[in-house]
Symmetry: C2
Subunit: 218 residues, 2 copies
């Protein structure tokens, strides 16, 4: 096994949690992980601490740390929070976005449109990610940007699944157009409201999400 930096271990573990290689309730055995990464237990324990603080895992004293995958309820709450944060980003970005950033958003939307036409889910996903990250950045608030990115990353796996639902990409695309329009007009309320409902998981989409959860659990 090649040399691995300590920080990379935490990132790698996070990735393994996100991608679902570690299932809910799995115990993260220090010795096994130490062997897997070719290091001693010490850096593994430090990485585990980070997972626990990030809320990705739970630590039971003298028992170990256990993966804590979000359940349906957790996910609902996280998506609702994400929707509110996106709305806040949209509101601030509407007040502050630069012309060049608006141009970037238009280019991104063009690529998204192409992905929709081609039925390219991964392509759309990448474009969608860039779209949102540009908006985070255009809040001019690096703290908020960071928080938005953190939650976005946490939910990215679930977002991806949602795009596979029939008609979702096209609908998402239309919402993007409205957001850009609102941002160009400096219409903070419209930008916020559109982004909120763009991200929110309501009605039928809730059931879709739960269904995809069940699949992932197997």
């Amino acid at each position: 096994m090649e040399k691995i930096r300590p920080n990379e271990i935490a990132d790698a573990l996070e990735e393994l949690v996100f991608t679902g290689e570690f299932k809910d309730g799995d115990r993260l055995d220090e010795i096994t992980l130490a062997a897997r990464f070719g290091v001693s237990r010490t850096p593994i324990r430090e990485a585990l601490q980070r997972l626990v603080v990030s809320g990705l895992a739970e630590q039971l004293p003298r028992r170990g740390v256990f993966i804590r995958q979000p359940g349906p309820m957790d996910l609902m709450e996280m998506f609702e929070t994400m929707a509110e944060i996106e709305a806040a980003c949209g509101r601030l970005a509407a007040l502050r976005i630069s012309d060049t950033a608006l141009g970037t958003l238009e280019q991104t939307n063009a690529r998204c449109q192409a992905a929709v036409t081609a039925g390219d889910v991964d392509g759309y996903y990448r474009g969608n990610q860039q779209f949102h990250q540009v908006i985070y950045h255009e809040t001019g608030n690096s703290f908020l940007e960071h928080e938005a990115l953190r939650l976005n990353r946490r939910l990215s796996a679930f977002r991806r699944v949602q795009l596979r639902w029939r008609g979702r990409m096209a609908q998402s695309m239309a919402e993007h157009e409205t957001v850009v329009m609102a941002l160009r007009d400096g219409n903070a309320v419209l930008a916020a409201d559109t982004l909120r409902s763009h991200v929110a998981v309501q009605g039928e989409r809730f059931h879709q999400l739960i269904a995809s959860l069940r699949m992932a659990a197997q």
Copy 2:
């Protein structure tokens, strides 16, 4: 020194950062801290990891971890983010708050009013904290509640200072009344807007905050 649990070390360190015993740029020496808490370096290092992940400290490889007190710019961004999160909480709470919680808010406001009359800053601070925490809770979203509490706690020291400014308590009190009214009416927009400007640091209050920062740095 009495026996101390590992988690308590991280909490204690956090407290020392918040209360300002550790100044910006201070290096957290592992050996010194180990001696201070009467443990070996290992649990100290785990506590330091937590500080770093929480963003309270910064880790430079092979150099150590350094306290990272927020500067004026950071504080502005954090307060703006807090304002947006409070607005989101107000919006959701307006849709979901229970009658009993509304009653609690009114009682809390009564105590706040008494504190304003008495010029009791600490009393008002406690009432204010409870006021906001009830709103967080009434979002019915424990994830958002947790995030709001986290940022609130991070900013609490700075908020406290602000109350000492002439007229701030009375103004804050009036805003509380408006919020309760909006929540009772289910007026999500008014609740959100009022809470946003209640928390936001704008105009003269920005200068007040910076001034208090300079005091704290000495």
